[in-house]
């Protein structure tokens, strides 16, 4: 159906080819996943299928690409429109009309299909994608998942034989992503559509792929094979594969189900290690399972779970996630005063559902206070405090009676559907959104009444698109501006940039940076003012696994330095890696607030893969498992 014959693409002004040596055939009815780090040319390969590369983007394409027997060399993209349907990264940039029904019909109108055929296909597509209830809705009022489905529907109506999708689920919450993937699955199985898609979040899509094509490096020839073959050598892989590699499973499992079937031995080993640790609870400061850690770090979890082994395991969780590798004495001190228990101690279990719903919580803490070798920490001043906050916007209640407390050094993940109010909550903490009820305090200030110049010393936000924060032509100019804005020593920002992005030249234009580099630059810019409270909105959108790992390391370091971090994210793996606490929002209300382990373990859609595989034991990330086994 799609055939690449020794294809290489070189863009104008580029030193070398962006992709080279692509020799590939995709058979009819296959679902092929294109994997690789950022910037290896995934979008270029996808563009070559629809003919947009090189007809629209410019550049030189060598070799030959044929789709359904049509050579893209002689066919313009518009002449391929009846066989290839393309959905780009941003569905909003894709829409031509303003209502759902018109959008579905647009492509067919261009192709000149008969009105009766169009009418029938629109109705069929509305049903196929579950859009019937939205047919008259203006596109501007749709949620992210709905928009993605409309975008897919709009290219499906001309009945293309090939569907090309660039990151169809990256911007979506887990439930909406499943919605979209279910639709793709149905197209492939029922209609025999050929699907070629690129996606960073392999954990969401790998199980649906018939074949994976891996682009190992820019300009390197792709590696194609079955998903498990490719995952064995791929530099990008989902947590389930990481766990499989760690445990030495072969062939590698790709789904939680496959992995669970093999995980018995691993579970036993892990149970054994945790018990060992527990039976020897030495009091040496070097042992990470010292008593203070257990109780200070995760008393609630420990008593909630009840089982000793699990309790001890929970300690591991908290510890590996929060403690930076510094001197042990230092660490012990920090751990003791670390605020994982802080909000509970300070807030007195405000979110009753989770905190005080845990049986024996108080008992556990009292016992601990008696035994504790060091004096009880002073309840630290809260970095951010939100009390019964309500926000109304355009007659929509965006937030309703929300409470949130964040202490220094604490990392909180806000999760929930697209449109649940996560961004609004972040916006109100940084003064972009004026509350209609309740109070917001960030570092003792009322954000929306504080002049921006003073506010940046207390709280900083990296918006969904970090490019919004960057105005200058070069990295150096951006840094100089940041120093001026923050009133910091000249060179402060540049030093931060160098720390985050070691090999970046002063004269690079911010627009030439990759997503991950942009995020790092934006982070450095706002950190110049050294705000104790750091907010991030969807930081992992468009990041590959390597960039994500770097981000996790950076944020952990910041948390260890005492920055409070609140991140709104759909990425359950990120939340599992970073967050001490997870706050779930739904329709503008907080529906759960508690330690990460408790919240995500109990939720089918928010549980990370490792948790699902190793349940009923409570593990969150591969890193934890690796450290426990070491």
């Amino acid at each position: 159906m799609i055939r690449f014959e020794d294809v290489s693409v070189t863009y104008e002004g580029a030193a070398g080819p962006t992709v080279a040596g692509v020799d590939l055939e995709v058979a009819e009815g296959e679902l092929v996943l294109l994997a690789g780090s950022s910037g290896v040319g995934k979008s270029t390969v996808l563009g070559a299928v629809s003919g947009l590369v090189p007809h629209f983007t410019g550049g030189t394409l060598r070799g030959r690409v044929t789709v359904a027997g049509r050579d893209t060399r002689t066919h313009q993209p518009r002449e391929l429109a009846d066989v290839v349907g393309t959905v780009g990264q941003d569905p909003l940039a894709h829409f031509v009309t303003d209502t759902v029904e018109d959008e579905l019909a647009y492509g067919m109108e261009s192709l000149g299909l008969a009105p009766e055929v169009m009418r029938r296909r629109v109705e069929e597509t509305l049903d196929l994608l579950g859009l019937a209830g939205l047919r008259d809705r203006p596109i501007a009022t749709l949620s992210g998942g709905q928009r993605q489905r409309v975008a897919i529907g709009s290219v499906l109506t001309p009945h293309p034989r090939v569907l090309v999708l660039d990151e169809p689920t990256s911007a979506l919450d887990p439930a909406a992503a499943e919605e979209v993937l279910a639709v793709l699955q149905r197209l492939v199985h029922d209609l025999g559509t050929t699907v070629l898609m690129a996606e960073h979040r392999l954990e969401r899509v790998i199980q649906y792929a018939d074949r994976v094509v891996l682009l190992p490096a820019p300009g390197a020839a792709p590696v194609a094979g079955t998903p498990s073959e490719v995952m064995a050598v791929s530099p990008v892989y989902p947590p389930v594969v990481a766990l499989g590699r760690l445990a030495g499973w072969s062939p590698l499992p790709l789904t939680v189900r496959d992995a669970r079937r093999r995980a018995d031995a691993l579970r036993e080993r892990l149970a054994a290690t945790t018990t060992d640790h527990h039976t020897a609870p030495t009091t040496t400061a070097t042992d990470r399972h010292t008593a203070p850690t257990t109780t200070a770090g995760n008393g609630a979890t420990a008593t909630a779970v009840g089982a000793e082994a699990a309790g001890n395991r929970a300690t591991t969780t908290a510890d590996t996630r929060a403690t930076p590798p510094t001197t042990t004495a230092d660490r012990a001190a920090r751990v003791a005063s670390r605020p994982v228990a802080g909000p509970e101690a300070v807030g007195g279990g405000r979110r009753g559902a989770v905190a005080s719903g845990v049986a024996g919580d108080g008992v556990g803490r009292r016992r601990f206070f008696r035994r504790r070798p060091s004096p009880a920490p002073e309840p630290a001043a809260l970095t951010a405090e939100v009390r019964s906050l309500s926000v109304r916007r355009d007659r929509v209640q965006a937030l309703r009676d929300v409470d949130l407390a964040v202490g220094p050094g604490e990392t909180v993940a806000l999760m929930g559907r697209n449109g649940a109010g996560k961004s609004t909550l972040l916006g109100s903490l940084v003064g972009l959104v004026e509350p209609s009820g309740g109070t917001v305090r960030a570092g003792g200030l009322v954000p929306h009444r504080t002049p921006p110049h003073d506010l940046i010393r207390q709280v900083a936000l990296v918006p969904q698109d970090p490019r919004d924060l960057l105005y200058a032509d070069t990295v150096a100019a951006e840094c100089a501006a940041a120093d001026r804005d923050a009133g910091a020593e000249p060179g402060t920002c540049r030093a931060l940039v160098t720390g985050l992005l070691p090999d970046i030249a002063d004269d690079t234009h911010p627009r030439d940076l990759s997503e991950g580099q942009c995020l790092a630059l934006a982070l450095a810019v706002i950190l110049t003012a050294r705000p104790p409270l750091l907010l991030l909105d969807e930081p992992t959108r468009g990041l590959d696994y390597a960039a994500k790992a770097r981000l996790v390391a950076v944020l952990r370091g910041l948390a260890a330095e005492g920055h409070a971090i609140v991140l709104a994210t759909h990425d359950v793996e990120l939340a599992a890696e970073l967050a001490h606490r997870v706050v779930l929002l739904a329709e503008g209300e907080v529906i759960a607030d508690g330690p990460t382990a408790e919240i995500v373990v109990s939720s089918p859609s928010f549980a990370p893969q490792v948790t699902k595989i190793l349940a009923p034991q409570q593990w969150l990330t591969v890193t934890e498992v690796r450290e426990a086994l070491a």
Binding site: S50, L52, H55, F56, T57, Q76, P77, R78, E79, A81, V84, T86, G88, D90, A93, H94, V96, T97, D98, T99, D102, A105, Y106, G107, M108, E109, S110, L111, G112, L113, A114, P115, M118, R119, V122, D136, R137, P138, T141, S143, V155, V430, L432, P451, P452, H453, L455, I456, A460, L461, P463, R467, D468, L469, Y471, A481, D485, A486, V525, I526
Partner: protein, 355 residues
């Protein structure tokens, strides 16, 4: 179910024409009320329907500006009821005929208010058309040859709202950098990033449209192509020459026929040009009985008020010198009420859920 968008526009333009025939504030208020009633009962929940309030505000601003000008710059209306006397700014000799400040008479203010109200009514009628039928839906009814231009216009129309959203987002982002998010300087500094973003989005949209078959053309035989070109060009030339003829004193003989011939040739060219386009229409809005009723009510109001203004100008243009309270002329008022016909002839849109 829905009425052809062209019908709503004709209805609204009919009301607007009627508004230009009178300065009677009671009749104008009646016109505004009638159109507002129809809008209130028949507009959909789409974003463009909210533009009605914007038009209403603009109309209010027009009245205010008109009255303020009359107060500040004086008015040719002679009046005896002095409301107040502003200090008059003496102007040099060459600015004779212009006055700044001075006596403000009730007559001048009332005249300006009537005049402003007329213009405001016209604006509100256009706003009503906008709220009842999106301009882009109207463009769907363009002939095939003009369709692609139409799409380009629609895309350009959506450019402005996107631009405003971008400006708001980037000004908010300035706040995150610790810079003031208000003031003109802030606006200027986000200018470049906003334009860059808009350009990027336009390119992405163009790519999406291209990939979806925008601009596919059918093969047309060469003779047809040439005929199309000749007809269109000849038609446009005819229109130009005809218009010139109509406007000059001595061209009265050939002007009108030439103009008509030009229009016919251009239309034929457009129709023939439509063959190049493969496009078909999805659910075109039918021009049905309701559309006729809606259009008819608008045209009737316009025609009746024109007739009334010729027949009884006094009632439609209440005098300001001497200052008399306006009266409501019975028959023209009844004619204005015809504008309410669509409120009963067209079924109301089903209220939809909005999340």
């Amino acid at each position: 179910m829905t009425v052809h968008p062209g019908a709503w526009w004709l209805w609204a333009l009919g009301l607007g024409t009627a508004a230009t025939r009178t300065t009677n504030p009671l009749l104008l208020a009646l016109l505004i009320a009638a159109s507002a009633y129809v809008v209130a009962t028949h507009r959909s929940s789409a974003p463009w329907s909210r533009s009605y309030t914007a038009f209403a505000r603009l109309a209010l601003a027009v009245i205010l500006v008109r009255v303020l000008f009359a107060v500040a710059l004086g008015s040719p209306i002679p009046g005896t009821h002095t409301l107040l006397t502003l200090p008059e700014v003496p102007l040099p000799h060459w600015a004779q005929g212009i006055r700044l400040g001075g006596r403000v008479t009730a007559e001048a203010v009332v005249f300006a208010a009537y005049d402003g109200l007329k213009l405001a009514t016209l604006l509100i009628c256009v706003g009503a058309a906008n709220a009842l039928a999106s301009p882009s839906r109207l463009l769907k009814s363009l002939p095939g040859a003009l369709y692609e231009t139409g799409v380009a216009v629609v895309v350009a129309l959506t450019f402005a709202p996107h631009l405003i959203a971008d400006v708001q987002r980037l000004r908010a982002a300035r706040r995150l950098r610790g810079r003031p998010d208000r003031g003109v300087r802030g606006l200027l500094q986000v200018g470049l990033p906003v334009l860059e973003g808009a350009l990027e989005r336009s390119v992405a949209l163009a790519a999406a449209m291209e990939a979806r078959g925008y601009g596919r053309t059918a093969d047309v035989p060469a003779p047809v192509r040439r005929t199309t070109a000749a007809l269109t060009l000849g038609g446009l030339l005819g229109v130009c020459a005809g218009t010139y003829g109509l406007l000059t004193a001595e061209g009265g003989v050939y002007g009108l026929p030439l103009l008509l011939a030009g229009v016919v040739a251009a239309l034929a060219g457009l129709r023939l040009g439509g063959r190049r386009s493969l496009r078909t229409r999805y659910r075109p809005d039918p021009w049905d009985l309701r559309a006729w009723l809606v259009t008819g009510s608008g045209v009737a109001v316009a025609a009746l008020l024109t007739l009334a203004s010729a027949h009884d100008p006094g009632a439609l243009h209440p005098g300001v010198v001497p200052l008399v309270p306006p009266t409501l002329p019975l028959w023209p008022a009844a004619a204005v009420l015809l504008a309410l016909l669509p409120a009963f002839a067209v079924p109301q849109p089903v209220p939809r859920e909005h999340s």
